[in-house]
Every structure is written in structure tokens, then in C-alpha cells.
């Protein structure tokens, strides 16, 4: 059980990285659509 903090840390890191990248893509796709509308 003394190793559980490492297991919890690993899953936390996984979701933080995956969630951050998903959020970054969502922001970027919104920004790029706005640029497309502007450029037309």
C-alpha cells in the first residue's frame, strides 16, 4: 500500500496531460475557425 501514492500520481499525470492537450486542441480549433471566417 505504500506505493499507492505513485499509482495515484501516475493516473493523475495521465489525465492532466490528456485533458490539457484536449483543451488546447479545442481552444485552437475555435481560434482557427475564427481566423477562417475573418480571412474570407
Amino acid at each position: 500500500m505504500r506505493d499507492m501514492p505513485f499509482v495515484i500520481a501516475a493516473y493523475a499525470v495521465f489525465w492532466i496531460v490528456v485533458g490539457s492537450y484536449a483543451y488546447y486542441l479545442s481552444r485552437r480549433i475555435r481560434r482557427v475557425f475564427a481566423s477562417l471566417m475573418e480571412s474570407r
Binding site: 499525470v13 486542441l25 482557427v32 475557425f33
Partner: protein
């Protein structure tokens, strides 16, 4: 060749397609991940040697495998770009390279968290760890190259060369645990792990694969639209030049 003459096949992203397919995959992938991780964490027994640390395998190994799949996509798309000069292949390669780099960075971070209680160190210059770090550096330089090269054709050609070179490093990373004396264990797969862990590993690998497809598809759409904006701006600049001439 100029930027204006280059991307004739770029078309606007189909919004309806994005809103249906990729948004659905964006919902399915996290649900599949939660279910697969719950299956692995809650139903598999602690390992005789590693105890509960074994559960890190369900995120570390699928991240590594899917990074390799992403770099395989980079390889195929880069070769196809060099062969056909169709810019869509270059944009797909760039999308897969970014998702692959994220998964490689994640693999290193998760391996480090596993290594501290197992090996007693966060990092060591082991052949597997070092070759994975080199792979990440190659794809970091791939993105730096794309960011600093303005001419689209040169950007695509050079990126394809770096992408192929980077992807050729993948077999070295994979085989490093057999070719060199390392402290990293041999490749984990359903055939090398205990049967009690095989299904957990398979399900998590599939869930991360769904996530990879979602990331690559979304990033590819972003790349396509960015390229289209670039084309519109070039055309507007050309029209302005003609009007002033």
C-alpha cells in the same frame, strides 16, 4: 514554387462532419478510458514483485504503443507526401507527430513515476529511456522546423525527411531492451505479462488508440483550416498587389 501555387487541394473543413464524428469520438474515448482503467485497476490482483505499482502499466504501456502507432502514421504520410506531393499527407503527418510527441512525453513521465519506487531513481541513462528521450527530441525538432519554415513546400519536404528519420528510430526504441544491457524489463505485451493482466492491457491499449484517433483527426482538421487561412491571406495579398500595379 510559391505558397500560392501549392495547396490547390485544400478545402474548407466540413463542419457537420467535425460536429458529428469527432465530437462523438471525443465522448467515446474518455468513457472507454475510464472503463478500461477501472477494469485494470479494480480487477487485477497486485503483482508478486511490484505490488500495486503494476497498475501503472495500464497507462504507461498503452501510451508508448500508441506513440509508436502515431509515428508509424507519420512515416507512411511522409513517404506518401514525398511520393505524391499532395499536401494533405503532410498535414496528416504533422497532426500525428504532435499527438505522438504528447504520448511519448507522457510515456517518459509515467515511466519516471514507476521508476522512482522500483529502481530508486526518477531517471537513469538506460538504453530504453535514452532512446525514447531521443525520439521525443527528434519530434520536438520536427515541430520547431515547421514553426520556423514559412515556405509551405519546403516545410512539407523537410518535415517529411525529419518525420521519416524520427519514425525509423522507433524500432531502435522498441528493440533497445534486447539489443543492450538495460534495467528496463523486456517489452510488455499480452504475451509477456501474466494472463491476469493481459485483458487490462488490451482494453487500455484500445481506449488510448481511440483517444489517439480523436487527437490526430482534430489536429488534422486544425492543420487543414490553418493552411486554408494561409492560402486566403496569400491570395488577398496577391489581389492587393495586382490592384496597386
Amino acid at each position: 514554387m510559391t505558397a500560392r501555387a501549392f495547396p490547390q487541394k485544400i478545402t474548407p473543413a466540413p463542419h457537420a462532419f467535425l460536429l458529428s464524428s469527432w465530437h462523438i469520438l471525443g465522448l467515446i474515448a474518455p468513457v472507454a478510458l475510464i472503463a478500461a482503467q477501472a477494469f485494470g485497476v479494480l480487477l487485477s490482483p497486485p503483482d508478486r514483485d511490484m505490488g500495486h505499482l503494476q497498475k501503472i502499466m495500464y497507462v504507461h504501456v498503452p501510451a508508448a504503443w500508441n506513440a509508436f502507432i502515431a509515428f508509424f502514421i507519420v512515416f507512411v504520410a511522409s513517404v506518401r507526401y514525398l511520393w505524391t506531393k499532395d499536401e494533405h499527407h503532410d498535414l496528416l503527418a504533422a497532426a500525428a507527430a504532435e499527438a505522438g510527441a504528447v504520448l511519448t512525453a507522457l510515456t517518459l513521465m509515467l515511466g519516471s513515476i514507476w521508476g522512482r519506487p522500483t529502481w530508486g531513481v526518477w531517471w537513469t541513462w538506460d538504453a530504453r529511456l535514452t532512446s525514447t528521450a531521443v525520439l521525443l527530441m527528434i519530434f520536438a525538432s520536427y515541430h520547431a522546423l515547421r514553426a520556423f519554415t514559412e515556405d509551405p513546400e519546403r516545410r512539407a519536404r523537410w518535415s517529411a525527411a525529419v518525420g521519416i528519420f524520427g519514425a525509423l528510430n522507433v524500432p531502435i526504441v522498441y528493440m533497445s531492451v534486447r539489443w543492450w544491457r538495460t534495467i528496463h524489463q523486456v517489452q510488455s505485451s499480452p504475451s509477456t505479462v501474466d494472463p491476469a493482466y493481459a485483458w487490462g492491457l488490451r482494453l487500455n491499449a484500445i481506449a488510448v488508440l481511440l483517444l489517439l484517433i480523436y487527437f490526430v483527426a482534430k489536429r488534422y482538421e486544425i492543420a487543414r483550416i490553418e493552411r486554408l487561412v494561409e492560402v486566403h491571406r496569400d491570395e488577398a495579398a496577391l489581389r492587393s498587389e495586382v490592384a496597386h500595379a
